[in-house]
Amino acid sequence: MRTLLALWTKEWLALSRDVHGLAVLFLMPAAFIVIMSLALSDVFRDGSGRPVDFAVLAADANAAAYLADGIAGEGFRATPAPASEAAARDQVRKGNPALVLIVPAGFGADPSATLKLLADPTLLPIQIAAFLQRVQGATLAVKSSSPPLSLEVVGNPRGGRPSSVQQNVPAWLIFGMFLVVMPISALFIAERRDGTLARLVSQRVPFSMLLLGKVGPLFVINLVQAALMLAAGRTLVPWLGGESLALPARWDLLAAVAASTSLAAIGWGLLVAVASRTIEQATVVGGVGTILAAALGGIMVPRFVMPESMQAWAGLSPMAWALDGFHAVILRQGSAADIALPCLKLLVLAAALLAAALWLHHSRRAG
């Protein structure tokens, strides 16, 4: 018994002095509870997230307003109608509004007149289904039977509803790329601890060069990661019974978003590596920071189900910028202009993180 008591005492003392390990155990769940509770608060409050904006485009303005009134509510908010079908398609492709119902001329009189619904590809299928139900309800007030309706998910290469794999691959791809923080910091801290970094600095290898020396291989690893995850969505998921990932037509844009995301992730890894004094510290700051940025940035919970105030915070996460970029390419089949802003934000962040790592190193060197 005395032996067991001694072992318990030792274990308790060791655990109580492992500040970083305890921080992971206590702070991470607490942070998760706060972020996820806030992110999902609207979903559990009234069964839907932030209202999804929609518009009704019809030749007859009165009919459009009538239908919009009937559809609005239960998580859907009416917005002014676009000028034309082309304008509607362009606006939906950008996600604002997320849905446009196009009503053909003579809809009330012609029983075969078909409604057309343009949908944002980032919407969940369940949201589109809920909207279709609202449309049916509203049209039954005008006609005795449900009219035929065609659905076009704008930008989706399949044309139909976006699949789960189409939504999930970009999100987890980004998360995986940001996890590069772990190997970067572990190797860097080992180099510092073992004196290899000191030896390289004494050989007049500039510190900026040492950091850049890490960027190249990790950048390649990130791109291989991206290729493998896309390949998994394309082959592994359908092999296991899921839908296959539809690849975008513009590979160059996909590569640009992946490259920008990789540079931001590597910049984050380098700053954590330089700032942390121990591998344990890097694991806490880098690992937990990455997971929290993912929770906040819409990787774990889609941003559109978050309350509006939370969405503003979500926009601060670099993972949200990367997700915007990937969605623009993979879901919306967007152009270079559509990925320019997210890529620019990621590249500016990468440069700022690298500069911060250099500044920190030089300030420590001066004593």
Partner: protein
């Protein structure tokens, strides 16, 4: 001559300076022993000389040329052998040597020649294909030294290069260091082993709390302190002098 003149340094957040107006003169082509208890400032001084830390004040020159300028002009003029095993354990010995040679600008036939030369010198040829992390303590020390010699530096900083090795490896390392000095290199050598310093150093400085307490040849140090060191002259040793000067209290 490597001159360190009035160098001071304090770590960020540190209460006390680690080096306080420290001055030493290391003659060219000899072995200069730097002795001091733990926390005396030896490794900090080596780090400043190696360019890892920047002194808050003071001047360091080599034959009148500021050390920084010399290192800028001739980056390979200074070699460092840290007390840690400063190489990559997951790489083989030859990969480590090629890497450290490559980052210092060596390439092609010249790199091959230097790798072969230092491997022969450190007698690690037979373990070149093995991963550095799998080597014994003595072999690791020899690889550590070999890396520091790749560019044939004329100033060599050796920070406790024999820690944790068996007597055979220590004897080999000391012979090697003597041979390096014999080729005209200036060697600054730190150690806790007094008998090593007595055996190979031409001049010695004893430092404590960031200050030089004594500096001179071994004979000068023992002679000058004869009056204050309470032992018979014929039994006097560097260790007795060291203990007397730095006091016997344990250090952190």
């Amino acid at each position: 001559m490597l001159s360190v003149d009035g160098v001071s340094f304090r770590y960020a957040g540190g209460e006390e300076p680690v080096l306080r107006q420290l001055s030493i003169s290391v003659p060219a082509g000899g072995i200069f022993g730097l002795l001091g208890p733990n926390g005396a400032g030896k490794t900090t001084l080596i780090s400043i000389l190696a360019g890892q830390l920047r002194a808050a004040s003071g001047r360091i020159t080599v034959d009148g040329t500021p050390l920084e300028e010399l290192r800028r002009r001739e980056p390979a003029s200074l070699g460092l052998v840290p007390q840690e095993f400063a190489f990559y354990p997951m790489l083989t010995c030859v990969e480590n040597l090629r890497f450290f040679g490559g980052v210092q600008g060596l390439g092609g036939a010249r790199l091959r020649e230097r790798v072969d030369s230092v491997a022969n010198f450190a007698r690690i040829v037979s373990v070149m294909p093995r991963r550095a992390g799998e080597l014994s303590g003595g072999l690791r020390r020899r690889l550590n030294l070999a890396i520091g010699l790749l560019t044939e530096p004329r100033i060599l900083l050796l920070d406790e290069p024999t820690v944790g090795v068996d007597p055979q490896s220590r004897s080999f390392l000391l012979d090697s260091i003597r041979a390096l000095a014999g080729e005209g290199r200036t060697i600054l050598y730190t150690s806790h082993y007094m008998e090593e310093v007595e055996a190979i150093c031409d001049r010695v400085a004893i430092i404590d709390a960031g200050r030089v307490l004594r500096e001179g040849t071994l004979a000068e140090l023992l002679r000058d302190d004869a009056a204050v060191v309470p032992v018979r002259h014929d039994n006097r040793s560097l260790e007795q002098l060291f203990m007397h000067l730095t006091s016997r209290s344990l250090r952190d």
